[in-house]
């Protein structure tokens, strides 16, 4: 399992990278590893308002389909279209390949998320 400094992390194994008022959201290295070879990523519609902990998308491997929960509230401004043809990008570089970009609605929500060391400890505590 690896993490990146400077990102926010959720209990559901998503990461958030903040750039101005935009949040790039993807799934962590731990999440992609436990799913195995990813075969499809369902991304949200641009313009859709999504609340914290609501479903942002679905990541599918051969053996599992897992909801991606949005760690924060916001409006979708971009969905990563390159995942449509190349879902394996998430396996190859989980932190380089976001699933969607949200316009952040409430920056305070970010404070409730983990930083990289907290997230690593959380994963360890879950018996992984």
């Amino acid at each position: 399992m690896n993490t990146r400094p400077g990102l926010y992390y959720s209990k559901e194994h998503e990461w958030v990278r903040v750039e101005g008022d935009l949040a790039y959201i993807g799934i962590t290295d731990y999440a992609q590893e436990s799913l195995g070879s990813i075969v499809y990523v369902e991304t949200p519609k641009v313009g859709k308002a999504i609340g914290k902990d609501e479903v942002l998308g679905v990541v599918e491997s051969v053996k599992a389909a897992s909801d991606v929960f949005s760690p924060i509230s916001g409006t979708v401004v971009e969905a990563n279209e390159s995942l449509q043809d190349s879902p394996e990008l998430i396996n190859e570089a989980p932190y380089e390949n976001h699933i969607a970009v949200l316009k952040i609605q409430d920056p305070a929500e970010l404070e409730q998320l983990f930083n990289d060391t907290q997230y690593e400890e959380y994963v360890k505590s879950q018996g992984a």
Binding site: S37, S61, V62, K63
Partner: protein
């Protein structure tokens, strides 16, 4: 010779293999009648082959398949018992196969008699009041049962019951069916015995619970010993109990869901009642209900009055129709024949021997494989290949090696609560000799897994294809042939 071609790749322009009577009536000018824009202009790539081409093609395909008649098929939860041939002959009789479902009941008394009697027979076996034969499969039976649960609560103006409880070991269709009918699904854990955790159940029972779905024996092959207590608890809070009859083959003639307190029960004719699985269907999933729920059954119900069978549609509380007509009739005919051939003692013996066979295999493998809930099981048991997995040989590897040994593998990776699960259900139709040779094969694999694990990583070697790339298939799905 290996011929990998699809039927389309055997097509030769202009070749035909069909035989039709002549068109002996005046020709209609189709262009003028319908107008050209509605007629097909797009090319239709249906193969052009001869009858013998077709016969050879599909005969060769059949050789790349494995049925119960090919060999031992201990696929847990699927009850792959032998399918008696007489049942096929009878279902194929013109008097059944060539009947139209909308014929006047005067002209279909024979069909209606079969439906009526099957309703009674299954009700007796399940301990229920009446049975609908309409559901086409277990999952559709579940959906029907859940709709009846909904209709029952609604008819009492009890609108707050939105929850269906399922154990974590349940079949995946249980929560999926509940979701389709619009219930919220609440999952409860199993305890260390592998049974429903009574305390966990107690904690969530309240007046929002519509019902509980349970398989008994459960997917670990264990009988829910506390079932009477469970049914009392659920009933006390106003909920209903649904019996998933996938595992009914364990208890025929020994115990009945109705006597356990279940209000609704489905049964898979393609499992317990020996109708063939057809490579994935058709099956049939009739459901039985207790007296209070009879008014909610789908329409029509077959009734008998003065020796005449008729279809009763006049049932105001009915949930309506969930499938066209009366269900998978020809599957029902096969099960009808099975019940008559077996008789009451025969059915009980079938369950007895199914349980004997499962325990025999379990006992003969318990030293080499981990068996998480190792005690007397019912018609199936779950072993865990965790010891083998430590050496790098997974349940999947073991399954693929069984193929090379001439067996259909057990169900693997189910139930989800057991790691490296292999679910073994031998059924009653297998001889002790067959069981012994399967046991021998499993023991050999365990020894190999311990001593030379690498040798098990490349199976199957004798099948028509080697291991297939599922990731490739799912990433860029190719779902049809293109020129």
């Amino acid at each position: 010779m290996r011929d990998e071609r699809l039927i389309f790749e055997k097509s030769v322009e202009g070749r035909t293999g069909y035989s039709l009577p002549p068109n002996d009536v005046p020709q209609v000018d189709i262009n003028a009648l319908f107008g050209e824009e509605i007629l097909r202009k797009t090319e239709l790539n249906i193969p052009e082959v001869s009858e013998v081409d077709v016969i050879r093609h599909y005969t060769n395909l059949s050789r790349r398949n494995f049925g119960v008649d090919s060999g031992f098929y201990p696929l847990g939860s699927c009850t792959m018992k032998y399918n008696p041939k007489i049942n096929e002959d009878i279902a194929a009789l013109d008097g059944f196969a060539q009947m139209h479902p909308l014929q006047n009941p005067i002209s279909s008394q024979g069909c209606l008699e079969v439906l009526y009697r099957m309703d009674k027979y299954l009700a007796e076996i399940l301990g229920m009041e009446r049975v609908t034969l309409q559901p086409a499969a277990g999952a559709q039976g579940e959906m029907t049962g859940l709709m009846i649960i909904k209709a029952y609560h609604m008819s009492r103006n009890d609108h707050k019951r939105v929850k269906i409880i399922v154990p974590d070991s349940s079949h995946g269709t249980n929560p999926a069916s509940a979701a389709v009918v619009g219930f919220d699904v609440v999952q409860i854990p199993s305890d260390e015995r592998g049974l429903v955790d009574i305390n966990a159940l107690e904690a969530i029972l309240d007046d929002t619970v519509a019902g509980l779905m349970l398989t008994n024996p459960n997917t670990l092959g264990l009988f829910e010993e506390d079932i009477l207590k469970i049914s009392k608890m659920v009933h006390a809070c106003g909920g209903l109990l649904y019996y998933d009859g996938a595992n009914m083959n364990a208890i025929m003639g020994y115990a009945r869901p109705g006597d356990m307190g279940f209000d609704i029960a489905h049964v898979n004719l393609h499992k317990t009642f020996s109708t063939p699985h057809g490579g994935g269907g058709p099956g049939a999933g009739p459901i039985g209900v207790s007296k209070d729920l009879v008014p909610f059954l789908p329409v029509p119900v077959v009734e008998k009055k003065d020796g005449y069978y008729n279809l009763d549609y006049d049932r105001p509380l009915s949930i309506g129709k969930i499938k066209s007509f009366y269900g998978n009739f020809s599957v029902i005919v096969r099960a009808f024949c099975y019940i008559l051939s077996m008789g009451p003692q025969g059915l009980k013996d079938a369950s007895g021997i199914a349980v004997l066979n499962a325990n025999y295999i379990r006992k003969k493998l318990e030293d080499l494989y981990e068996i998480p809930y190792n005690r007397t099981c019912m018609h199936e048991f779950v072993l865990s290949a965790v010891r083998q997995a430590e050496k790098g040989v997974t349940a999947l590897d073991l399954a693929k090696n069984l193929i090379d040994k001439g067996y259909h593998p057990p169900t693997i990776y189910f139930p989800l609560i057991v790691k490296e699960a292999m679910m073994i259900e031998p059924t009653e139709t297998e001889s002790p000799e067959t069981l012994d040779s399967f046991i021998e094969a499993m023991r050999e694999l365990a020894t190999k897994a311990a001593e030379e694990p690498e040798s098990l990583k490349h199976a199957p070697k004798t099948a028509y294809v080697s291991r297939l790339d599922e990731v490739k298939a799912a990433r860029n799905p190719i779902l049809k042939w293109s020129k």
